[in-house]
């Protein structure tokens, strides 16, 4: 079968977490984007969006990293990342650069063309069926920043609905925060874990094989506790599910 003609040039933002911890998720993201007809490029100068420092109050340091991000990505047609949280950070750049209107304007323009994977596929490309097959019962975790800052709720579900063999199970706590919150997870580990357990108490009782989400950071938190609690539920990124055949 001939490959479809590239419909969009995409600059891939692997995210630092994806690059260093979950390269499989990033590979799957590339696969999915290419199946959707995109020409994907990875600029190796990329590092991080600056969110860890920003959320910790270290805005000077966040600006240094965010500036680098701008330099790397601002000439791209579209930037896509397998994360809602990192993309939401782009929308915080104007707040971060409030004292430098010219940089804030550049940042706003970049934010406008930076997308979380599922919303890029569904909203920008109009692609809903990637020809995936995945035989499992999947519970969905609505990652906070994607859900509340980017409005990503239906897009992943639309994509999952087209996956053959997949049964989507809606959890009561699907919109409850997993308790990660960046440095919050290590500064207030007991509170973070209490939030996490509230969610996992349902997950571990639910008839699911896989817990999936659009963010590696949530999945890292969820997986870490599921493993510690000896659960059989696996965690997977949406991209990995969509790349399955």
């Amino acid at each position: 079968m001939p490959a479809p003609r590239p419909s969009r040039d995409v600059a891939l933002f692997a995210t630092c977490l994806g690059d260093q911890l979950f390269p499989g998720v990033v590979e799957a993201t590339v696969t999915v984007l290419e199946r959707a007809g995109c020409a994907v490029r990875f600029d190796p100068r990329q590092t991080c969006c600056g969110q860890p420092a920003f959320n910790s109050g270290y805005w000077r340091e966040a600006r240094q990293v965010a500036r680098h991000f701008l330099d790397v990505f601002e000439r791209a047609d579209a930037v896509v990342a397998p994360s809602g949280s990192c993309v939401a950070m782009l929308h915080r750049f104007p707040q971060l650069f409030a004292d430098e209107p010219d940089v804030a304007a550049r940042a706003a323009a970049l934010a406008h063309k930076t997308f979380e994977l599922s919303s890029f596929l569904v909203r920008e490309l109009g692609v809903t069926d990637l020809g995936a097959r995945f035989d499992a019962r999947v519970g969905w975790h609505d990652a906070c920043h994607g859900l509340r800052e980017l409005g990503v709720r239906d897009e992943p579900r639309t994509l999952l609905a087209a996956v053959q063999g997949l049964e989507l199970v809606e959890l009561r706590t699907r919109e409850s925060c997993c308790g990660f919150g960046g440095t919050f997870s290590v500064k207030l580990p007991e509170v973070s874990t209490a939030m996490l357990d509230h969610k996992l108490d349902e997950v571990m009782e639910a008839p699911i094989d896989v817990l999936a989400a659009i963010d590696g950071s949530c999945l890292m938190q969820l997986h870490g506790r599921l493993e510690r609690r000896g659960a059989r539920v696996r965690t997977m990124h949406l991209a990995e599910v969509l790349a399955s055949r």
Partner: protein, 478 residues
Amino acid sequence: MSGHSHRTPDGFAAQAREALGDRTLTQAMRRVTDLFAERRAAALETVPDWQELRQQARAIKLHTLARLDHYLAQFAGAAAKNGAIVHWAEDAAAACRIVGELAQVHRATRLVKSKSMATEEIHLNAALAAAGTEPVETDLGEWIIQLAGEMPSHIIVPAIHKTRQQISELFVDKLGVAPSDEPTVLAAEARERLRQHFAEADMGISGVNFGVAETGTILVLENEGNARMTTTLPKVHVAVMGIEKVIPRFADLEVFLRLLPRSGTGQHLTSYQSLLTGPDVGVPGRAGQGPRELHLVLLDNGRANIAVDETMRETLACIRCGACLNACPVYQSVGGHAYGAVYPGPIGAILTPQLQGMHQAAALPFASSLCGACKDVCPVQIDIPSLLLELRKRAVEGEAPGAAPAKRAAFEALTWKLWAWFVRSPGRYRFAAAMARLGDKLPLVKRLLPPMRAWASSRALPRLAKRPFRAGHKDGGS
């Protein structure tokens, strides 16, 4: 769990741990916050124009806050014309002094009080108790808290952390009644006692939900009828009102009356709405229908400073519904006392550092995962996550230019400096990642680094991938 007086905003981490160790508390919090969230969701379904209402409310509040001096002057003028006596209190001490002097002047020794966060904020009860005239709290929840010698743990449900069983034990202990965990029996007991206090009271103290500038009217919302009695039975009524409670027009109340009860308790309307426009001045036919004197104590206590801070101003748009508390996964997990302040939860995390100063409350803006659930439910659309982030920055960088940072661990600051130095250059980023891979092979490193240890205390540590994604993409293509 008493001995709460040692709690401070900056003690959040330890106080949260203490709360998490109390299973009765954590289970009660989860149950009640879930219940309130469900009720709120059900109540919203009857308002198809909810989002427009929120926008209207926000617009009214932001408009007013930008011209606070104008509307306050109008409100004070109108109230005075109605016969109310207006007092201006710059801070908590001034407000307590004014109320205390009013009690003295009127030789009032038996005081009743309805629920009010502003009076909690200024610790009015303690100040009046020192003069021997501590008011009796007449809201059931507040009364329970007063009997227990505790602080409220929720803005509208002060005894939310107490189970029926605990309340029964408290009543047996403090009132000498027979044990019962039947709510109606407990409530009847409370009613009996409180009626007596109402009958004897010579001064009533209340808060204010809204103050209408054009008419000088105040509105007090409640469900038990105790505020109605507090504000009408005694011959003197003193209302303590935060200056941010003013709204321009009487018609604006319609917007807020639709939003507040639904957001707070999930009610379409509270059982009582007392609109008070001046005291009983002996108008023929209407005499005897209220207190002979109405005093309005307008409380600043740090609010004016917030109002002129354009970035933080919207903090004052809060109408104290408590929806953000019920929606917050941190509050749901640890309850209100962990915040060590009168205002807990997300709104408390942004309000407390501004009212009390960052130097004693810098921990609170960090007591959040920034999930944004608070912003979603706020009836006036306060962007709490953004304000939390702004306050975090101020905690780290210092509140005002040149001011010393309120909270900056030197080691933490150095860590972030180094992080930024490595991460803003691709070469150094690659180098740091390679070093981290070496470290990842040494289990000892993981055990020594505090963040790693904190993570591993409850969660399996993630492993760095053998090769980063970029290792396979050196050419720049995919």
